[in-house]
């Protein structure tokens, strides 16, 4: 029976390592495994038989060791988010508390990367769940009892879905994850000598599973922290190249920031010719970013096709589809009529210069472990070229969300996972066009319209009017828009709207929000009182297009 501890221990040797370039650290993977054994003994000294273990710290060796420790103890690892973005401390601790309760955490592993202030707030918020500092292992040996279980036991519970008020944990078994790591190794075409470099947070599914797939491949993995990249993108790129890394996975934001940085400061002498794969996933892939990145960094030896769009999610362990780097055929974009991208419509190719054109990037084919189809809610598949929901099945795909009753689990009657994403297939390649759900993804983080609406509703002065919250995506820009019916004077309405927007940013860290005051009875409803979303979107678009264009705005 497959057990991730054994799978990773067998794949690792003294030859592959975990590198943390900013801290000048290098750990042979055999050493990391040994330290994880000892850390497992440290945890057992406090919690007799842990079943679920939270991991809460910044990227580094202790983070990986925390996950390995959980696996060594036959406990499920539960990655917990750091207080990134601008959500306030209270909202953050409340979110952690909800996750800890939902996951029934027995302990949370932390390290010295959490400052004392935050640690004390979290400790108080999570009480009585113990916080264990694993910065350095203390005990000299691992537990006597070897790992057992594995197979269909839970290995990871990943909280990336669900609204902040009701977080949903994606359950992944040892079997799911083992197969998902294989899918990544094959789907991204890992070579034995590839070196994986990552700056995305490890508590995010992309960080976690890219790191584990590198280790399962026997590769060396180099870790940075998000701030290392965001502060100085070009310096980070120089370090990435210097570390010998050949594989990167990051959201579109990363490539966009590198393009911007290259436009504003001198690019250091770089040789990017060894870079084999730069996966662009975890948020909407922008064609303009793809083109600009290849053009600018092509001058430094970046090979065509290295920058490869992909599509994935925690529910699939990670990869659903991807191009595999310069060995593959390269990425494709199609220009289609933007008015024919609703579910059930056949896409209509148009000239890229057509005013109705929307350019959509292909996210590659599925690896053999995963099957994807485009279907409706009954599970009936649509033919190629028809827009519908992406539905997936395969060994890496989750059995469902933790603690959710069967009726609320996201499966079709024939057992395929409903992703909530809209796409069409063209020659076996997935083209993602939007979402069924009112949700947007910014830098890998999902934001739900219902959460935004709840915060706007609670803004003093706003509670009386009717509201409708909708996710707006036009391929290059994603935002959540809240229409708010009000009769107050326009200046006062716009002040209230701005204060509601600030509260959203403050409480869930989302800046891509617009609160739009509209006249009473403007929001279209069905006879049963539900908001007609498509019509509401039209109200917003009309409102936007009728606004005076500020000077210098290219809109």
């Amino acid at each position: 029976m497959v057990h991730l501890w054994h799978l990773l221990a067998d794949a690792c040797s003294a030859g592959n390592a975990l590198l943390v370039p900013p801290q000048d650290q290098r750990f042979a993977m055999t050493e990391v495994l040994d330290r994880a054994e000892r850390t497992a003994s440290d945890v057992l000294a406090v919690v007799e038989r842990p079943r679920r273990v939270g991991v809460l710290m910044a990227n580094g060796e202790p983070w990986l060791r925390g996950v390995l420790t959980a696996l060594r103890l036959d406990a499920a690892a539960v990655p917990l988010p750091l207080p990134v973005g601008f959500a306030g401390a209270d909202a953050y601790v409340a979110h952690l508390r909800r996750v800890a309760a939902d996951a029934s955490l027995d302990a949370v592993l932390v390290d010295s990367s959490l400052r004392r202030f935050i640690t004390s707030r979290i400790r108080a918020g999570l009480d009585p769940v113990p916080l264990l500092d694993i910065t350095e292992p203390v005990r000299p040996h691992g537990p006597d009892r070897p790992p057992c279980g594995g197979g269909d036991e839970l290995a990871v519970i990943q909280y990336t879905s669900g609204s902040t008020s009701a977080p949903k944990g994606v359950t992944l078994t040892h079997r799911n994850v083992a197969s998902g790591l294989n899918a990544l190794i094959g789907g991204l075409g890992f070579a034995p000598d590839d070196v994986v470099g990552l700056w995305v947070p490890l508590f995010h599914d992309m960080g976690l599973f890219m790191m584990l797939s590198g280790l399962a491949n026997g590769s060396t993995v180099c870790l940075w922290r998000p701030a290392d990249f965001v502060r100085r993108p070009l310096r980070w790129l120089t370090e990435f190249v210097g570390s010998g890394a050949t594989v990167l996975a990051a959201p579109n934001f990363c490539y966009e920031q590198l393009v911007e940085a290259a436009g504003r400061e001198p690019v250091p002498e770089l040789d990017l010719s060894r870079w084999r794969l730069a996966t662009n996933a975890a948020e909407m892939v922008r064609p303009a970013t793809q083109v600009a990145f290849e053009e600018i960094f092509g001058r430094y030896g970046l090979r065509p096709g290295v920058l490869s769009p992909g599509y994935g999610m925690a529910e699939a362990t990670l990869i659903v589809s991807a191009q595999s780097g310069h060995l593959g055929p390269g990425w494709r974009a199609l220009s289609v009529d933007r008015d024919r991208l609703d579910a059930g419509h056949q896409v209509r190719p148009v000239d890229p210069d057509d005013p109705a054109a929307r350019t959509v990037v292909g996210c590659g084919p599925c690896p053999p472990e995963v099957s994807a189809r485009i279907g409706d809610e009954t599970g009936t598949a649509y033919p190629d070229g028809t827009v519908g929901e992406v539905q997936i099945t395969g060994t890496p795909v989750t059995g469902g969300y933790l603690n959710l009753p069967p009726a609320q689990q996201p499966f079709t009657p024939d057992g395929w996972l409903r992703t909530g994403d809209l796409a069409f297939l063209d020659h076996g390649e997935l083209f993602i066009v939007g979402r069924l759900k009112d949700m947007i993804t910014v830098r890998g983080q999902n934001y739900y319209a219902e959460d935004v609406e709840e915060i706007v509703r609670a803004t003093p002065g706003i509670e009386r009017g009717r509201r409708a919250a909708i996710a707006v995506s036009d391929g290059s820009d994603e935002r959540i828009v809240v229409l708010w019916e009000t009769a107050v004077d326009p200046d006062r309405a716009s002040t209230l709207a701005e204060s509601a927007r600030e509260r959203v940013r403050d409480q869930i860290g989302l800046a891509a929000v617009e609160v739009v005051p509209v006249a009473p009875t403007t929001i279209p409803h069905t006879s049963s009182g539900k908001v007609r979303r498509r019509a509401a979107l039209q109200v917003y678009l009309t409102h936007r297009d009728s606004r005076p264009v500020p000077e210098g705005d290219p809109r």
């Binding site: 601008f86 306030g88 401390a89 400052r115 502060r231």
Partner: protein, 87 residues
């Protein structure tokens, strides 16, 4: 006022860097404000402003500074302390 002509007072330098990051005038930034409450501010812009401050003074603002909850005054105090230590 830009960061280049803001002199040596950390209060001026920090405010100028933050203001530049969100294209506001320096007098629109209040030191009692939380960084997150500066209109137009987001985490990436904060880090960009911090890099400009670091370059100006040749200091390193540690990663664990709580940008999420800090006020402008907190950042000024930290920078002033780091500048003092570096001299």
């Amino acid at each position: 006022m830009t960061i280049a002509d803001s002199g040596d007072d950390p209060a001026d330098v920090v405010v100028a860097a933050l203001a530049a990051a969100v294209s506001l005038a320096a007098d629109q930034i209040k030191t009692s404000q939380r960084l997150a409450q500066i209109p137009g501010m987001e985490s990436v812009k904060i880090l960009r402003a911090v890099v400009r401050i670091e370059d100006y003074y040749h200091i390193n603002v540690p990663d664990d500074f709580l940008f999420e909850t800090a006020t402008v005054a907190d950042l000024i105090d930290l920078v002033a302390r780091l500048v003092k230590e570096s001299r």
